[in-house]
């Protein structure tokens, strides 16, 4: 992707817009950090008139000032948080494991039903739409993933994962710190699909939370939108205060979102119904438009299966994995060659108890699974240590955490996002290399 002319015209226009030099919040914040007076910062912002605001995509000159149309927008990290504690032992299944069969007489996925994984594991058959990606080396997994949080509490475990630290001294989200490490970028450099900001993105870096591009809009409809934007722009122009920076970025994002939303767009793949697929469709659109998306966070809930994980062909797990796999397969197809520039990783707060419970479900456990999709992987295999399921190696009845989730993410950040020093992102962790990426 060296030349904007290879892209359809609207995307090329967006990229040109992205390449335009401007000043913005990142400069402003940077200036505060270094103790410059606001006055000087605002002098820079003063150049942004109402008209020019409409087409600004870039928050700072640093990212795109020199690059122009040929700018490489960089690899995109997509984090899918599977809320509720996904049962890793149903997704990536240890083959020929007698302990599992004993512990789970009703819900263990039988060997004969598994899709080929690697020499130790098979894949739940519901992952069939993704199996070609697995085989082609564009998908991998890490099993027995643990975190320092041993509480078996949804909230506490999610919080620990999303802050990227167990210590309460780390309050920003780990993805916010990733953004800080990546440096300034475009308005679209960080997107969360949803109505609320995920904990992982909480912090000082700018990011957009969108349900759909079409919905990132001022309430009140078309009638007075332009005039409202003009009034808001006037109300926040020349104001010597951080709220002015937030307002400017919001107005810029509104304009950019509308510019994209106005364009005719057809995904290349047929996405299934459902919010999760819709979120992936939005992300694919942004990735293909090459508007500088570096970090995206989306959620898929419903994995808290205390009841009725069910047998392999009939139960909550089957239903959820069907939905999950169909959506991800469409996302991969839609991206086409751009999948090489994407790394998608799933996280979940914990795995589930090895032994099934009285309701053909499983209660909260510990060690879980992370799935990875995209370019740069040593794919088609399950990485990391595997402690097994023998009763004497279980952690209070749960799969032990043999691989720290931060080890997966550190390698991802280093290999795929070019972040050399992960210490600021996972400040209380000393990483071990797992070899998930090439």
């Amino acid at each position: 992707m060296m030349d904007g002319s290879h892209h359809p015209r609207p995307e090329a226009a967006l990229r040109r817009a992205a390449g335009r030099v401007t000043a913005g919040l990142a400069d402003q914040r940077d200036a505060w950090r270094h103790g410059f007076t606001r006055r000087r910062v605002l002098a820079g912002l003063g150049g942004l008139g109402v008209a020019s605001l409409g087409s600004q995509l870039v928050t700072t000159r640093v990212a795109f000032g020199a690059a122009q149309d040929g700018a490489d927008p960089g690899t995109t990290l997509v984090v899918v948080f599977l809320r509720g504690g996904v049962d890793g032992l149903s997704v990536i299944v240890p083959r020929g494991n007698g302990d599992l069969a004993v512990a789970r007489p009703r819900i263990a996925v039988p060997d004969r039903a598994l899709l080929p994984g690697d020499d130790r594991f098979g894949l739940h058959p519901a992952l069939a739409p993704l199996h070609p990606l697995w085989t082609a080396g564009r998908m991998a997994a890490v099993h027995a993933v643990g975190s320092p949080d041993l509480s078996r509490s949804h909230f506490q475990a999610q919080d620990c994962l999303e802050r990227g630290a167990a210590t309460s001294s780390v309050t920003s989200g780990w993805l916010d710190r990733v953004l800080a490490a990546l440096g300034p970028g475009t308005t679209f450099r960080a997107v969360a699909n949803g109505t609320a900001l995920p904990r992982s993105l909480l912090g000082r870096e700018e990011k957009l939370v969108l349900t759909e591009l079409q919905r990132f809009d001022l309430a009140g409809g078309d009638q007075l939108r332009d005039r409202t934007v003009a009034a808001l722009t006037a109300l926040y122009t020349g104001l010597d205060h951080p709220v002015a920076g937030h307002a400017q970025v919001t107005l810029r994002a509104l304009a950019a979102a509308r510019e994209l939303a106005d364009q005719d767009y057809q995904p290349v793949a047929d996405y299934p119904d459902g919010g999760f697929a819709g979120q992936l469709r939005e992300l694919a659109r942004l990735i293909k438009a090459r508007v500088g998306l570096r970090v995206a966070a989306i959620d898929l809930g419903g994995w808290d299966m205390h009841t009725w994980i069910g047998p392999v062909d009939d139960g909550g797990m089957r239903r959820h994995l069907d939905q999950f796999a169909a959506a991800l397969a469409a996302f991969s197809t839609d991206l086409g060659p751009a999948l090489e520039d994407v790394t998608l990783v799933t996280m979940s707060e914990f795995g589930r108890r090895v032994a099934e419970n009285g309701n053909a479900g499983a209660d909260h456990g510990h060690g879980g699974v992370m799935l990875l999709l995209g370019g740069g992987l040593r794919g088609g295999r399950v990485h990391g240590g595997w402690p097994g399921l023998a009763p004497d190696v279980l952690d209070h009845g749960d799969l032990a955490g043999a691989n720290d989730y931060r080890d997966v993410l550190v390698e991802l950040l280093q290999r795929r996002l070019g972040i050399g020093d992960p210490a600021p992102i996972f400040p209380d962790h000393r990483p071990t290399r797992l070899g998930v990426f090439r």
Partner: protein
């Protein structure tokens, strides 16, 4: 404050050293704080060398201090010092020039209401004018003297709001979250409509300082009582009593795992947060050994099967303990409760606790990066009055720093929502619980549902921790929804009714509306832009400008402005 600054210097120095040494060194350097993480998994010995103090591990005194420092704000506000009364302080500050300009008018009445309430209303403004600054503050500092019919009537519609834990257990399904949700609704109702506004601000302050997240499964029956019997009972009392009450409440003991702590398997979560968050803070200079002894001393405080606090001597660890300057022989199991009460007294009266609470109050009421001189004076008032908070607040409201700081705070999402409800005059309506539920979820989408911050450190109180496009757009759109009464349940005044009898010209209409909603006129260029929004000039006759119809656009945009975003 000296301790504070010394810690800051040390931090910078350490960071530089560690950066030079690379990632491995940073990981080791961070062990002091990494350690805090392991609260839930029991005690661990120091990893190497002697006991270390988190103060020396690299970091700010607390999160909000870190944010405040990161912005590099000048601590000089333009005026400093104490006066004999709020009026004298306001007069003295009015004669000085703030170091930072603000779009907010330097009107002492509006300033006081922006800080000491969840947002000015017209009637509050009149009340301050008639009672005077001191008179209004005196009343607010004696909330029992203020009738509160509107908030009380709403509470009557939230059945669990006045229930004890035993009643909630009797009335609701086990582990129901209904009572906790109703507490969220009740919190909103009181912030919106209670006439004891300064009391509610302090309830919010202490709820975040001694935070027990809500909802939290372990407190499904007890969170309501924690709000009433701990926070509200002592919000304008002595911190010593507040701390003691929290240390005997099942919600807190569950939240920080002290209920499971046992002399044979000590859980240090509560013992640590007691030091780090509730009292002396990281700047207190405690070590890992102190944390361990703090946890040992608190063993025995647990929760029984009926969700009541109980001291179980069998769980209590004995033998001498030492935390900072506190010593106790701690010789018997039955004596453990009294020993730990002495320890709580020690912590409540510790100078580092005074400084920490003083600084947090200054952040709440004055500015995100408060001047050390103000913090020192507030801390002295705290110590001079046996940890009573009212004298600290009186000191604060008689400081020049308070009165010069107009516009230096940014409303957090929930503060913006509450101020919007209050200035628009939205009141209880045909189905108030449903209306409050809708606004609860709105606050949730904005990222600040009442009491819902997850970690034990409470919601950030500084602007740098908030903001961003999502939040900004979300707040703008909430103004539109609230101004136009898009949700059911409450009583929403029609936007065209806000000005009263319509003034003759569009310019006058806008000025009247600005004073009604923002308590000041807007600057001339903003006036021009707002008139352009409704396609009118200043002299266009009101009828011709169609302002009755256009009010539904004009009202939210006025609230979108910095005049409403700041406080």
């Amino acid at each position: 404050m000296a301790v504070h600054r010394r810690a800051g210097v040390l931090t910078t120095h350490r960071r530089q050293v560690l950066l030079g040494l690379g990632a491995g060194a940073v990981a080791v350097g961070a062990l002091g704080s990494a350690y805090a993480a392991l609260g839930g998994s029991g005690l661990r010995p120091a990893l190497s060398g002697g006991p270390t103090s988190p103060r020396d591990a690299g970091g700010f005194a607390d999160r909000d201090a870190s944010y405040g420092h990161a912005l590099g704000e000048a601590a000089d506000l333009g005026a400093a010092g104490q006066a004999d009364s709020p009026e004298a302080a306001a007069r003295a500050a009015a004669g000085a020039t703030p170091t930072r300009p603000t779009p907010l008018a330097r009107d002492p009445v509006a300033h006081l209401l922006r800080r000491a309430s969840f947002g000015p209303t017209g009637s509050d403004h009149q009340q301050v004018e008639s009672l005077g600054l001191s008179g209004w503050l005196d009343r607010q500092l004696a909330p029992g003297s203020i009738d509160d019919p509107v908030a009380e009537a709403v509470l009557d519609q939230l059945p669990t709001a006045r229930m004890s834990a035993a009643q909630i257990r009797a009335e609701l399904e086990p582990n129901s979250w209904d009572a906790m949700f109703e507490l969220g609704q009740a919190t909103l109702a009181r912030q919106f409509w209670s006439r004891r506004q300064l009391f509610e601000v302090m309830v919010d302050f202490w709820s975040n300082h001694l935070h027990v997240t809500c909802p939290f499964g372990g407190a499904w029956a007890t969170r309501t009582g924690y709000d009433r019997d701990v926070i509200r009972a002592h919000a304008l009392g002595r911190f010593r009593d507040l701390l003691h009450a929290s240390a005997r409440h099942p919600a807190m003991l569950r939240y920080l795992n002290n209920d499971r702590s046992h002399r044979r398997s000590v859980n240090e979560n509560y013992g640590r947060e007691l030091l780090e968050l509730h009292t002396v803070g990281v700047a207190g200079g405690y070590t890992e050994r102190d944390v361990r002894d703090s946890a040992y001393l608190m063993t025995g405080r647990t929760v029984d099967a009926a969700d009541e606090f109980v001291y179980d001597p069998e769980r209590h660890w004995i033998d001498p303990v030492r935390v900072l300057g506190f010593r106790h022989p701690n010789p018997t199991r039955p004596g453990g409760l009294a020993a730990s009460d002495e320890y709580l007294d020690y912590l409540a009266h510790h100078p580092a606790t005074a400084t920490r609470i003083a600084r947090k109050l200054a952040v709440r009421f004055v500015t995100d990066h408060p001047p050390p001189g103000l913090v020192d004076r507030l801390a002295a008032a705290y110590l001079d009055h046996d940890t009573a908070v009212v004298p600290v607040l009186r000191t604060l409201f008689s400081s020049l720093e308070f009165w010069i700081s107009v516009g230096r705070k940014t409303r957090r999402p929930l503060e913006n929502l509450a101020a919007t409800v209050r200035t628009l005059g939205i009141t209880p309506g045909p189905d108030t619980p449903a209306g409050l539920a809708g606004l609860y979820w709105l606050s949730h989408r904005l990222g600040q549902a009442p009491l819902a911050w997850g970690p034990p450190d409470g919601y950030p109180d500084v602007a740098a921790a908030w903001g961003g496009a999502h939040g900004t757009l979300g707040i703008w759109n909430s103004h539109h929804a609230l101004a136009n009464g898009w949700s059911d349940g409450l009583s929403y005044p029609a936007p065209e009714s806000l000005v009263g009898p319509p003034p003759a010209t569009a310019g006058d209409y806008l000025d009247t509306l600005s004073r009604r909603l923002l308590f000041q006129p807007v600057q001339e260029r903003h006036r021009t832009a707002l008139l352009e929004l409704v396609d009118a000039g200043p002299d266009t006759p009101t009828g011709e400008a169609g302002l009755d119809r256009a009010a539904r656009h004009l009202v939210p945009v006025l609230l979108d402005s910095a005049y409403h975003a700041l406080r």
